[in-house]
Structures are given as C-alpha cells and as structure tokens.
C-alpha cells in the first residue's frame, strides 16, 4: 500500500495561524490549539462519523458548513468556528435532536450528567425551534445490568463504534431508517439474548444521554465514564 507522506500544513482558524499534520482533522488541530468547537457524536479515540453535525465550521470559499471532525486540513485554508449563521445552524441541529424523541430531563436517569443537556445550556437553547414528534419506542430492560431506552437516543453511534473498534464485538448496530432508526443488538434480539454482547458496559459509559444506563441506580449515582475509553486507547497504543 502506498502511504501518503505526512506533511506539516499551516492554515488559519479564526484568524489565528496554526499548523498541523496533513492527516489531522480541523477539530484535532483546533483542540491542540485550545480553540473550542462544540461536538456531540465525537469521542476522542473513536473513529469520526460526522453524524451529529454539531462541529460544523465555515471554510472560506466553501458554500456549505463542513463538519470539523471529518474534514482533513488543507494548506492555507481559512476556518471560522463561530458566526451568527453557524450558531443558528447549531441551535437548529440541537433542536432537531430534542424534538425527535422524548428528552424529558426531569424524568431521566442521566439528568445532570447528560451531554445533550449540557450542550443546550452551552448553546443557550431554551426550547426546541421545531415541533416535538415524541416518537415512541419499546424499552429493552432484559439485560441483568443495563437498560436500552431508544426514546432517549440521539443516534450518535458512539456505542456502535466503541463496541466495534474497542471491544471488537460489534454487538450493536443501527436498524431501520429515518424516524424509525434505532440501536439494535444482533438481529433485533433482547439485549440479554444477544450472543455477541460481552456485557463489558463500554457502550453505557460512552452514551452521551440516558439511552443506555445501568440498572437499579438513581439519578444521583449515575457516573458516565466517557473519558475511560480515551484513556484505554492511549494506554493500548503505548504497548
């Protein structure tokens, strides 16, 4: 396989000159330089899918906003991470996440430890800009330790990626399409009946909302160890 040589490239983010390696994404270089770009589906260490569109940025010369987590850097590009249009687009994207299913914080086990909740505080979103659909799904509480509540899922696919890339089981995947899309185990079997699930709990730790949570614990006791996965990957690469 012919490998592309890694080169150093310099470009601008918000009029600040930065440099990065040609295999890096805009988001990685921005984080290296302490420039904040809001993210949702991104989790350091996992592959990037650009599914949530929260990290959209403007690139000079391009007509549409580009997700920073999947866009590779280019020499001389001019990136803007925040503008009235971008802010409005992010609010709309977040609104759509809220409106699709039933995100009621007061009855959610992840209340206070939810990335969807904290992101709406960060972006100052007070209410959804689009009507609520409140799509209903059945809850899968068959597993002895964990619960899958698709009503709180935002389809970030972190659980799928961590199960495939880190645990190597690929017990989860997306099934269906559009509004009916949801996370399933194996062939849409109850979680307890899944043959490939190792019950490691990584999917529960990385879930940004209360869609996957531990059984028999109260809202106060919920700890989402999202950083644990990033640590795991770092430690593995050092071996």
């Amino acid at each position: 396989m012919i490998r592309e040589k890694v080169r150093v490239k310099s470009f601008k983010i918000n009029d600040i000159c930065v440099t990065g390696q040609s295999n890096q994404t805009i988001l990685e270089v921005a984080r290296d330089n302490n420039i904040e770009i809001p993210t949702m589906c991104y989790l350091e260490g996992l592959s990037c899918v650009g599914s949530c569109r929260m990290c959209i940025v403007e690139i000079k010369g391009s007509h549409e906003p580009t997700p920073a987590c999947t866009a590779k850097i280019k020499e001389g590009m001019e990136v803007t991470t925040s503008s009235p249009q971008i802010e409005a687009a992010r609010k709309m994207i977040l609104s759509m996440m809220f409106s699709e299913r039933s995100h009621v914080c007061s009855t959610c086990v992840a209340n206070g430890d939810c990335e969807l909740q904290s992101k709406s505080v960060e972006l100052e979103l007070e209410h959804s800009e689009v009507p609520y659909l409140n799509q209903r799904f059945e809850i899968d509480a068959s597993h002895k330790n964990f619960v899958n509540d698709p009503n709180r899922c935002i389809l970030c696919t972190r659980c799928i990626r961590v199960c495939d890339e880190i645990e190597g089981a690929h017990a989860l995947d997306l099934a269906g399409r559009g509004l009916n899309m949801r996370i399933v185990h194996d062939m849409d079997e109850p979680w307890a009946a899944s043959q490939s699930c190792t019950s490691c709990g990584k999917c529960v730790y990385v879930c940004p909302t209360g869609a996957l949570y531990e059984k028999d614990i109260s809202e106060e006791e919920v700890i989402k160890k999202r950083g644990i996965i990033t640590e795991l990957i770092k430690n593995r690469s050092q071996r």
């Binding site: 089981a169 995947d173 997306l174 099934a175 269906g176 062939m187």
Partner: protein, 157 residues
C-alpha cells in the same frame, strides 16, 4: 427442514461462493437470498452473517435499511395500490385506507392467514388509467372503493 437438506441454502451458498465470500458483497448476497427464499428470515440472515464473517447486527442493519428487502414472508396474493400523483388525486389514498380497514393490516403487512399482502407503489406509468391497483401483477384500471375490494375478493378466492 434442516439447512443441509434444504436446496435453497445450497443455492445461496453457491451465490456466495461466486462472490468469493467478500464482505462487501453483502447486498448482492441479500438480493439473491431474497430471490431464493422470497423473503429474508432471521435464520437466513444469521446464516449469511456467519458465512461472510460479518456481525449479526450489521447484516440486520443493512437488511432493514433498504425498503426492497422483506423480513417477513409475502402472502399468497398481493395487491399493490398506486399512490402516484395521478392516482392519489383520483382518491387512491381512500382506496388504500378501505383495503387496510377491510383486512385489518397496514400497507407493507401480510394477513395472519398469509392470504394477502398490501403494498404501495409510487407510479406504474399508467396514469391515464388512474386510480390503479395491481392484483397479482394484473393491472386493474379506474378502480373505485367498491370495485377494488371486489377485485381482491375475486383474487384471493
């Protein structure tokens, strides 16, 4: 019938072999499986997943993503109601509603006795005959609420 003696699994095996068990030929394999079995049962999907060394969830995800793939067997007879623009204006939505009520199933479903499946289509290119329903591949032109149910009764008799 066990998998070893079922000829349909042999046919499926052959088509997978032809594609040299490539993981990225999954959609191709699903197509030929549906052609052979008429639908994609969970057992068939699991068999394909094992042979192509793919995770169950991935195969299920692909099979449910495309409208073309059916996970439930088709009825002995099927009726397709056209919901294209011309037919829709001429009231095919009401015809569909009536058929659904009459048999107690939604479009895309099959009656419990497996006698009838109701399907919908976007256009048959027979707009001059609107509203059109298709009973077992036979086009029934200019149907009404009454004639549509009569045609179906006739078909499944």
């Amino acid at each position: 019938m066990s998998m070893q003696t079922d000829d349909r699994y042999n046919t499926l095996e052959k088509s997978m072999k032809k594609l040299s068990y490539e993981k990225n030929a999954l959609i191709e394999v699903l197509h030929s499986a549906q052609e052979t079995f008429g639908y994609l049962g969970i057992d068939t999907l699991k068999y394909i997943a094992k042979r192509l060394k793919l995770p169950y969830s991935k195969v299920y995800g692909v099979a449910t993503f495309y409208n073309y793939f059916r996970l439930k067997p088709k009825g002995r007879h099927n009726v397709v109601v056209c919901l294209g623009t011309a037919c829709y204006i001429k009231g095919s939505d009401k015809i569909l509603e009536k058929i659904e009520q009459r048999y107690g199933i939604k479009a895309g479903e099959t009656t419990s006795d497996e006698a009838l499946s109701i399907l919908t289509a976007r256009c048959f290119g027979s707009c001059s005959l609107a509203p059109v329903i298709v009973c077992d591949d036979v086009i029934k032109p200019k149907t009404t609420l009454e004639s549509s149910t009569l045609e179906i009764e006739e078909m499944i008799k």
